[in-house]
């Protein structure tokens, strides 16, 4: 039984994601984990998202599948979102029936689900901005249309400093609080059973991510080729699937790259064991990363990191302490950094230990507590907002 004060703090929260919930991705994982932790804190949580699969293992009472996603190219990647604007009636009925205390929108200005729900919402609204890019045509040309939607958001969150800077470039007067992505330290930790046949005399380099251009796998393959000549006992493990799979396979066979493991899509339950089968984690993205949750997963698993100096990654990494960083698209430098770490087990152990310690700061429990603080502020702001509107109407009348 919770004390009265605590019970008052319990809320009914709706988490809204624009992305296909059946496809793996940073925002989807964020929503899934946040939902879990909020529930652990005693909050009631419902998730709204489009999904390409109806048979996925969702708890139907707590998941509303709204719309079918289609693939839209965006930010050097593919966003699987629903573009149907006929969601209004269904969404309105659910909002009416559920009586949410807070609706938490992830990428709130993304069509169509978050925008539709934001328009319908009559409760406290919180928006989390995940994306980072060099430019965003939608934000640039759509500023006029999107601005009124922002007025509905009572509190804003950015997942990293680069994500905040990026958003504020288009909407400078909208305040955002930085709350980083979280990591589940019970899931990602050292000492788990490795994939045993991958643990041999080779130094294992691990890549985790969708096989798409912006993740920079092409540079890693070149860097690995460069490294193999100098460190023959090495192996590259590629976890993830995506549109470039065919090209990656053909590069490996054309260049006769030995010891490359294309693991394909690995389920979440097995992924931590891949981290525990590796010696070095490599994240060679070329630019548009707002945070890089994989870096946290690697650090929590006690791995040293070789990464490119993109703003999202640099907001997490401390080069020289937990990682070696190189300029983006510099495959030779990437290869050289891998060689340094592959040849120096002591350095790997030191960086891995530092990263592991640092990952504690990003524990989901701590992150969820910060998000709940923002929910409280948003509810307060939502209570204030109608009063202020009323006062201003009275003022104008006088």
């Amino acid at each position: 039984m919770l004390p009265d004060g605590e019970r008052e703090k319990l809320m009914k929260v709706g988490l809204v994601s624009p992305y296909d919930f059946a496809s793996p991705g940073g925002v989807t994982d964020h929503v899934r984990y946040l939902a879990g932790r909020l529930r652990n804190h005693g909050q009631q949580v419902r998730i709204f998202a489009p999904s390409s699969r109806a048979d996925i293992d969702f708890d139907t009472r707590e998941f509303y599948r709204i719309g079918s996603p289609i693939a839209v190219p965006a930010n050097d990647s593919v966003a699987r979102i629903t573009l149907s604007f006929h969601l209004g009636n269904r969404v309105a009925a659910i909002i009416e029936q559920e009586h949410f205390d807070v609706l938490h929108f992830h990428e709130p200005l993304m069509p169509a689900l978050p925008l539709t729900m934001l328009r319908m919402s009559t409760t406290a609204n919180v928006g989390t901005f995940h994306a980072f890019s060099h430019s965003n045509i939608g934000y640039f040309y759509g500023r006029g249309i999107l601005h009124p939607y922002l007025d509905h958001i009572h509190r804003g969150i950015a997942v990293s400093e680069p994500a905040r800077t990026f958003f504020n470039r288009y909407f400078p007067d909208f305040p955002l609080r930085v709350i980083p992505n979280g990591i589940d330290l019970n899931v990602f930790k050292p000492g788990l059973s490795p994939i045993r046949h991958l643990r041999d005399e080779n130094v294992n380099i691990l890549f985790v991510g969708r096989l798409e251009k912006r993740k920079g796998l092409g540079d890693l393959l070149r860097g690995y080729e460069f490294m193999r000549e100098r460190v023959p006992h090495s192996r590259l493990i590629i976890v993830g699937d995506g549109p470039l799979r065919g090209q990656v396979e053909s590069y490996i066979s054309r260049h006769r790259l030995p010891n490359v493991v294309l693991a394909g899509y690995v389920p979440d339950s097995v992924k931590p064991r891949y981290y525990n089968s590796a010696d070095i984690f490599c994240a060679p993205a070329t630019g548009a990363e707002s945070f890089g949750i994989v870096l946290l997963e690697a650090m929590a698993s006690g791995l040293p990191v070789v990464a490119t100096e993109v703003p999202g990654y640099m907001s997490v990494l401390e080069p020289g302490r937990d990682s070696l960083t190189v300029r983006p698209k510099g495959w030779a430098e990437l290869g050289a950094a891998l060689i340094i770490l592959a040849r120096d087990a002591e350095l790997r152990a030191r960086m891995g230990a530092y990263g592991h310690e640092k990952a504690r700061r990003y524990d989901w429990d701590a992150v969820a507590s910060q998000v709940i603080e923002v929910y409280e502020e948003a509810r307060e702001a939502a209570r204030e907002a109608p009063r202020r509107a009323e006062e201003s109407r009275v003022h104008n009348a006088v």
Binding site: I195, R196, H197, D200, P267
Partner: protein, 290 residues
């Protein structure tokens, strides 16, 4: 290499098909192999006649069982080809387990579990589900030819959390490590792949049988859990476990290994006699095999 390319081309089509269609193709391939294979069918039928002597006098039944065996074997290959796109969640309702209490008893001892079996059914399903729900599973099995095919097979199983360890000293070292970490190791002893088997009666006739698993059990104190997996008519799977076998140390290692292996063999014979249509061994097991 052409064999791997051919396999990969077929596999990339099969993995995209619905399960029913993939099985239909598998049955078609099985029909061709059953009719035209020069060696596989005679070898299988030779083995079946030794396992079930009554088939010597019943050619119709032998024919029926050997056809069903090819059919089930081809479906097991289809399962393997579909593995890259299959999730544990999808597979979980397909598995029924009998004898789970023996597995729990073995795990409670805290020295890992050595699952010893024969070439029956689809082990991927059981291994993937046990790996996701109980403890990580390693398969201790032969290296396939060509190498590229073996690597594909290994990587495909790894993404379901199954390690594939080869029958060599490196593999053995990792098997011991896995058992020390209280994990599960699955292996089969009905074929002597490395050629170091000890001749002992298998269905009443001497066949070379590997003593490796019994040697491991004797050294580590790990219980041996005899298991078979077979396909049910609705294309789900039944895993059936028998009571645990403990390798007892009497100071005569060879004799102890043979005694433990014989106990396991009796259980496996029992499994095979009940499901001869699922014992996929188109290989030479006994001398004088075609």
């Amino acid at each position: 290499m052409w064999r791997y390319r051919a396999f990969k081309s077929v596999q990339s089509v099969v993995e995209r098909l619905p399960r029913s269609l993939a099985y239909a193709l598998a049955v078609l391939a099985a029909r061709l192999a059953w009719r035209f294979s020069p060696l596989a069918r005679p070898r299988l039928e030779y083995n079946l006649k030794i396992a079930c002597p009554e088939l010597e006098t019943d050619p119709r039944e032998l024919r029926r069982l050997s056809w069903l065996n090819f059919r089930n074997h081809a479906k097991a290959y289809a399962d393997l080809m579909m593995l890259p796109r299959t999730s544990v969640e999808t597979m979980r309702p397909w598995l029924k387990v009998q004898g789970m209490e023996y597995l729990e008893q073995a795990r409670a001892i805290g020295k890992g579990v050595l699952v010893v079996s024969c070439h029956m059914g689809s082990y991927e399903v059981v291994s993937a589900i046990w790996s996701a729900t109980l403890t990580p599973v390693s398969l201790f099995a032969e290296e396939l030819e060509p190498r590229a095919l073996f690597e594909w097979y290994r990587d495909t199983r790894a993404r379901l959390g199954i390690s594939v360890l080869t029958l060599d000293t490196g593999g053995l070292r990792r098997v011991l490590q896995a058992l020390r970490d209280e994990e599960m190791v699955v292996t089969a002893i009905d074929r002597d792949i490395v050629g170091t088997g000890h001749p002992m009666p298998f269905f009443g006739r001497l066949a070379p049988i590997p003593l490796g698993p019994a040697a491991i059990a004797l050294r580590t104190g790990t219980p041996i859990f005899p298991v078979c997996v077979y396909r049910l008519p609705d294309d789900t799977y039944q895993a059936e476990g028998a009571p645990l076998v403990f390798a007892k140390d009497t100071g005569d290692p060879r004799g102890d290994q043979i005694r433990a292996t014989e106990q396991v063999l009796r259980q496996l014979e029992n499994f095979i006699r009940r499901h001869p249509e699922q014992w996929h061994v188109p290989h030479a097991i006994w001398a004088n095999s075609p």
